[in-house]
Amino acid sequence: MSDDSQIVLGIDLGTTFSAMALVNNHGKPEIVPNGEGFATTPSVVHFYGSNVCVVGEEAVKMVVIDPENVVRFIKRHMGEEDFTLEFFGHSYTPQEISALILRKLKEDAEELLGRPVVDAVITVPAYFHSAQRGATAEAGTIAGLNVLSIINEPTAAAIAYGLDRIGGQRKLLVLDLGGGTFDVTVMEIRGTKLSTIASDGNAELGGKDWDDRLLNYVAEQFFEKYQLDPRDDAAPYQELYERCLHAKICLSTKERAVVPVNYRGKRLAVKVTRDLFEQITADLVQQCEDTSNIVLEKAGLTWDQLDDVLLVGGSTRMPMIRRMLTNLSGREPAEDVNPEECVALGASLAGVFRHRPDHPALREKRRAMVDRAKELRKPRPKPPVEPRPSPRGAVIGLAYGGHVAQDAVGDGATGGLPDVTIEDATTHPLGIIVLNKSRQERVFELIPEGTKLPHEIKHQFAYAFENMTAVRIEVTEGSGSFRDEVTVIGQVELTGLPPRPRGTRIDVVYSYGVNQILKVQVIDVETGGREGIDIRFQGGMTAEEVALARGRTSRMVVD
């Protein structure tokens, strides 16, 4: 096994389920099973004392007994201000709760591998904004991990998938419908370069919304009969939710299911057919369809120009989603792989590509390449590399799945990983607040949405008033022309300037790096004086709060 410093844990921190993976020495990503032996862990935490909690399947069991002390779907509140939950006299932010989930994963991995695990890459939906990404990074830090980067989920999925296709040129669409979030991303693979072209989604649409529709329907049926609503009591509601979840899964393979309701002594078995389920959720499917079309438009492509369509996330198992995508893309979905594991697998690969240039798998390949180059003294016309033929345009789940070691990818001869570069694009425009000619505040966009990273731009502005001695730059995220349509994510102030007339030039530089850190610089053109900050996408907790939370959480017992 590789030595300590080489391990980068790829973590898919999902709304309903989480998973983790590692890349082995042969360059193969493998899922790391949790302490209970499963590939995925429910993102559920149950607090049963002031310093103790359980994460995972055990917590889910307790939801019908002690619903007030169980947290689910916390991902939906990541990056939200002023949102805290109270358990046994302590207040927890969403980051702290996610940290507990991450801790369980970390500790299970350490136990399995017999060595400490520190470095990690965590994934987020492509459409997460800066506060949400920052919060995810904070959660990792609180859990005792060293978060090397935050990666977009569709990118991770495409990496795990795209390795098989390296060497050619392919355009793919990734449709990620998870438990709580929805993302559509169009990506391009050119040789060994993987880049994002366009992305959109809804951070508040996921499998849970399908569950809720079913739950509302069943509750209404029960109410019609008995004038009692099982949603009114916490434990009965949770129990009903579990049954609806089960029924929904059932309806993906069968035409009908039954939801039994037993509330306050009254019983009702509500029959649900797949047709009915599809009817009551038709508008959700429509949303998915509309977003997919919008993203394609943003990318400037049509459905036939795509080479592949990828389904990620457990909710894509629903026939209505597959059908929608088949109708749109004109192709049949393939039945093979596991849409729930690919994001973690891809995350682990991304971790290696970006942060482990010395990974044994990569090293081998490079050495092999150097040796071969030495052999070929004379320039010989090389036959064009044929991309490995794949069924033209299959809608494919992911290339890798499960934790059974398979043949090494890439060249059979040398094994190892090709050197893949990943290019992400911004998902939200970045701008600055300026005054227009009529002295009104407007947002001026410096880096538009979909710009490939890394990217740097310098723009010249002018002093708005006479005798200004200080300049303040407010960095905004989001699309809109007015201050209240966007979010201010950072500020830089350049003070102590000699008073200058209106119209004096000033330069502002935005450098957006691969690690999703935005460096902002303000440069006074005349004097050359400059001031800058790094905007590291704050999640709402200060560094002190994070350190405090880390200390506190480390003292907690996570089962």
């Binding site: 619903p67 007030e68 002390n69 169980v70 689910r72 779907f73 002023d82 949102f83 805290t84 939950l85 109270e86 849970k208 809720d212 739950l215 509302n216 509750a219 609503d229 949603r231 009114d232 916490a234 434990a235 509601y237 949770q238 939710y241």
Partner: protein, 367 residues
């Protein structure tokens, strides 16, 4: 507590549909603050388990996010409740003010007018003190003595429509135009300007104009205003005269199932001049109303209400017959269903039983 906390409390109550936080928690207004806060805390805890529940989601998330605001507000119960009252009142205050203006512009403040206004105020949910304050303020503005005698230069001594020189059927826009023309002809400082301004204010606002028209038995056709509430009713230009709907008799009657036929009559009178066209309608299928159209020219008329046993359901207990005129006036009569024996039936039954008894007694005696 800050304004922000009170705003949050108001927003929350609107979200859950409760008049204020204490009713939401099921507590009385005199409750001890510590108890109220403890109850809110346990409610929040309960809501933690309901965050994902589609039925309670918005309530749960709001309560969790703004818990500290809501808790702060409960620290000072009386102050909070005062704010609640003020907020509800301020919603309806503009309407009340318009009503008062309209009525006062029509002719001083007699006992009748004051009662009418008070009734309006209370039905809007405005407290007595606020009502008096509004009344005094506007009366002062319009220079009407609260004792009831219109002062000589009070506008109520003149017909506002004539003052502005507009037809009583003029739209609000036309009223404002006319005012503009009139004002332009006057010198600055002319007291007439004030009177014109008042006339414009009262006549250009639907609410105040309606009350003005109602309380002044005006000659002339009813006002033509923007029909926003009932789009289907065309307004008849009544040739000379304004009608007035009057309901004679009890507004709550009983219909007994035992009676055959089960029916009653509603007597209506037209207390004004002018034609009174309109409709009569029942809100349940088991009451049949004939005729269902009013006779516009009749001074007095009758509406017959009959019980249709075939359409009667087991759960039916009462029905309402509403009469609505083209001018927008409404009157209702409630018909309660009596299923048990009526008085007459009881007597009949007793008499029958007595007869049987006598018959049997007679038989016995003979033996």
């Amino acid at each position: 507590m800050e304004l922000r906390d009170l705003d949050n409390a108001a927003a929350f109550c609107e979200l859950v549909g409760a008049p204020h936080l204490l009713t939401y928690l099921g507590l009385t207004e005199e409750v001890d603050p510590a108890e109220a806060r403890a109850k809110l805390k346990s409610r929040r805890k309960f809501m933690q388990g309901m965050q994902a529940n589609p039925k309670y989601r918005r309530e749960a998330l709001f309560l969790i996010k703004h818990f500290s605001s809501l808790s702060t507000v409960l620290e000072d119960g009386p102050a909070y409740l005062r704010d609640v009252r003020r907020r509800t009142e301020s919603e309806h205050l503009p309407v009340l003010e318009m009503t008062v203006r309209g009525v006062l512009a029509g002719g001083g403040l007699g006992a009748q007018q004051e009662a009418y206004l008070r009734h309006n105020a209370l039905s809007l949910g405005v407290s007595e003190e606020t009502f008096r304050e509004v009344l005094e303020r506007i009366a002062d503005e319009m220079q009407i003595s609260l004792e009831g005698d219109p002062l000589s230069h009070a506008p109520s001594s003149q017909d506002l429509y004539k003052l502005l020189g507009v037809d009583p059927r003029a739209t609000p826009v036309e009223v404002v135009d006319a005012y503009g023309h009139r004002i332009a002809e006057l010198q600055p400082g002319d007291p007439e300007r004030e009177r014109l301004a008042l006339a414009k204010e009262v006549l250009s606002n639907e609410e105040s104009r309606r009350h003005y028209d109602l309380t002044t038995a005006r000659t002339g056709p009813p006002a033509r205003t923007r029909e926003t509430v009932r789009p289907t009713q065309p307004r008849l230009e009544a040739p000379g005269g304004v009608s007035r709907l009057e309901l004679l008799g009890d507004p709550v009657r009983t219909l007994s199932l035992r009676a055959d036929p089960a029916e009653a009559t509603i007597q209506l009178r037209n207390g004004g001049t002018g034609s009174m066209g309109g409709r009569a309608e029942a809100d349940v299928p088991w009451l049949i109303v004939t005729p269902d159209q009013l006779d516009p020219s009749a001074a007095e008329q009758q509406i017959l209400v009959r019980l249709d046993r075939g359409a009667l359901t087991d759960e039916a207990t009462a029905g309402v017959v509403t009469i609505e005129t083209e001018r927008g006036e409404r009157a209702s009569v409630v018909f309660e269903l009596q299923r048990g024996p009526t008085a007459g039936n009881v007597i009949g039954l007793l008499a029958f039983m007595l007869l049987i008894f006598l018959f049997v007694a007679g038989l016995v005696l003979q033996m």
